[in-house]
């Protein structure tokens, strides 16, 4: 059978392969190469070795964006997963209107990042001005918490769906046995349900961490990096280096930043997957 299928490779493989080469492989390889070049367009690149990378670390906006992004990843991952799990626990109780609640919580996920960013910019600016605090574009700390609130609002529903699926797959016999043995709901959760939720937790942590690292649209629409690059996450910092700065050196530096960014995201995905996989309970 394998032999027969093999002959049909132009029909099965070629369309996707061509698109994949065009849409990923060539741009990726070229992108890695350009990180070692000075260029303004793809064609006028001259090889300059590692000097882009040394300039990246001399650019204070990048190191700031890195730490700002790390803080954002930690806080948003905690908030989103705690929120998503809490909502999932409440909505798996036999309460009225569970389906309607799920519908509401999941809704923000379908709205695009740009739209979300503008909605929350208006809302938060109004709230800040009523509290007589500086607006989002003047205060990077407000921008940070604004972004956390926005992401929590958007992603709690998504993680809730995954946690609900995880909770529903736990056999009732386990929780009932714990109850009969006299466990409090609190103990049942931490000793029985939580270990069984590890696969869902792995997935949700992975999704929230990579989402928070790759965040772009919301960052751009909510604060646009204001004030003075202080609220830039890495993705937006790279974008700005490419398209917002003038000078022949910046595109090369931007591409070098992108390579570093890519390495960070890939490394985190690998480490994170490996470490949580080990803690999963075997059923």
């Amino acid at each position: 059978m394998e032999k027969a299928i093999r002959k049909y490779w132009p029909i099965f493989v070629l369309p996707t392969l061509l698109a994949f080469i065009f849409g990923f492989i060539i741009p990726f390889v070229e992108g890695v190469y350009l990180a070692f070049c000075q260029f303004t367009t793809v064609k006028d690149a001259t090889f300059i070795g590692l000097s882009n990378f040394t300039k990246v670390f001399a650019d204070s906006t990048f190191t700031h964006a890195f730490w700002y992004n790390c803080a954002f990843v930690v806080v948003s991952t905690l908030v989103i997963n705690a929120g998503g799990l809490a909502v999932a626990l409440i909505l798996t109780k036999a309460i009225r209107g569970t389906n309607a609640f799920r519908t509401v919580f999941f809704m923000p996920n379908l709205i695009g990042g740009i739209v979300l960013g503008y909605i929350w910019q208006i809302l938060l600016n109004c709230a800040l001005s009523l509290l007589e605090k500086p607006l989002l574009r003047l205060d990077a700390t407000a921008g940070f918490w604004g972004l956390v609130i926005l992401m929590a609002w958007q992603q709690i529903g998504y993680m809730m769906i995954i946690y609900i699926a995880g909770l529903q797959s736990i056999p009732d016999t386990l929780t009932e046995a714990a109850e009969i043995d006299g466990a409090t709901p609190w103990q049942t959760f931490w000793k029985v349900k939580f270990p069984m939720l590890m696969p869902s937790l792995t997935i949700c942590l992975f999704l929230t961490i990579t989402n928070s690292f790759k965040l772009f649209d919301q960052n751009m629409a909510l604060t646009g990096g204001e004030p003075n690059h202080a609220s830039e996450l890495l993705a937006y910092n790279i974008y700005y280096t490419f398209y917002g700065r003038s000078g022949p050196q910046w595109r090369g530096i931007g591409q070098a930043k992108a390579v570093i960014f890519c390495l960070i995201v890939v490394a985190i995905s690998l480490i994170q997957l490996r470490s949580t996989r080990r803690k999963e309970v075997q059923q």
Binding site: Y8, F22, F24, F106, M107, G112, S129, F261, L273
Partner: protein
């Protein structure tokens, strides 16, 4: 159920109702501002309901639709999403079937590359991909030149950059399909193409729905890729259009922008309410990719 449990469930029900109302507030706020006159929307008055003085009726909606070609943007976005998702579902599922059924180092490498491409952030390829899409054209004997920086060919870019997730999910499913069914159809005289479309394809339906929903959610809302690749003066997707109400010189047309946001959200909500079950199932099975 015991009485105390019933009571605690009622309390939770009430608490969640309140939380949900608060949760929906941002959208409600946009709705009510979209019905106000321009001067009544500012950072200090955005929380106020429209009153008889500030109520603008549907003026903002008319303005949003007529001033910058909302329907054209809607059409482009719809076309890009539908064509890309269709291409991804058809071609990626075929690709996935081939690489799971034919075992060699090439197919293994392709699988790993697809998995890798899922993790790579768009910023890594943003510049090179957009300049490639801008410069690449295929000439058909001088009669017609195929360009990739138009909405009509953007599906090809999405097929390339979005292939990772789709191939990964399809492969995951194909491995669970028993080989015997396919072997039986081959023995009965089907060629691989017939086997695929008559036997494998129908089995894939649930996975197709999941992949389709995840990819559609991404492509419909995508901002950066179409902005960098499309000719902005000619073609704007909805996400790009909203950006334009900010205008130049820092002036923001708040009213029409709010109306435009509502117009952008509205069709999504309709689709969501209609296909909620599938969307939620899609998210759950898509999560296996972790």
């Amino acid at each position: 159920m015991s009485k105390s449990k019933a009571r605690s469930n009622l309390i939770w029900s009430i608490v969640m109702t309140i939380v949900c109302v608060i949760y929906m507030y941002p959208i409600f706020m946009v709705l009510m501002n979209s019905l106000k006159v321009e001067s009544a929307i500012s950072t200090s008055t955005a929380f106020q309901l429209p009153n008889s003085e500030t109520f603008a009726g549907l003026d903002n909606y008319v303005n949003a639709i007529t001033s910058r070609g909302f329907f054209a943007s809607f059409g482009y976005t719809l076309f890009i999403t539908v064509s890309s998702v269709a291409a991804i579902l058809l071609f990626c599922s075929m690709f996935a079937w081939y690489i799971t059924r034919v075992r060699s180092w090439v197919t293994k490498a392709l699988y790993l590359l697809c998995a890798f491409s899922m993790v790579v952030p768009f910023q890594m390829v943003m510049f090179t991909l957009s300049s490639l899409a801008d410069s690449m054209r295929i000439n058909f004997f001088g009669l017609y030149t195929l360009r990739f920086n138009t909405p009509w060919m953007l599906w090809f870019v999405y097929l390339g950059f979005g292939a990772g997730l789709a191939v990964f999910m399809f492969c995951g499913f194909m491995r669970s399909v028993p080989l015997e069914i396919e072997e039986a159809s081959m023995i009965d005289g089907c060629n691989p193409l017939q086997t695929y479309f008559k036997v494998v394809f129908p089995l894939l339906k649930p996975t197709m729905v999941s992949v389709g929903i995840l990819e559609a959610m991404w492509i419909w809302n995508d901002y950066l890729l179409p902005t960098l690749i499309l000719d902005i003066d000619k073609y704007k997707t909805i996400s790009m259009l909203i950006q334009y109400f900010r205008g130049s010189y820092g002036r923001v047309e708040m009213g029409p922008m709010m109306a435009c946001i509502m117009l952008a959200i509205f069709p999504i909500v309709i689709v969501y309410l209609a296909g909620q079950k599938h969307i939620i199932k899609g998210v759950v099975s898509g999560a296996v990719k972790g």
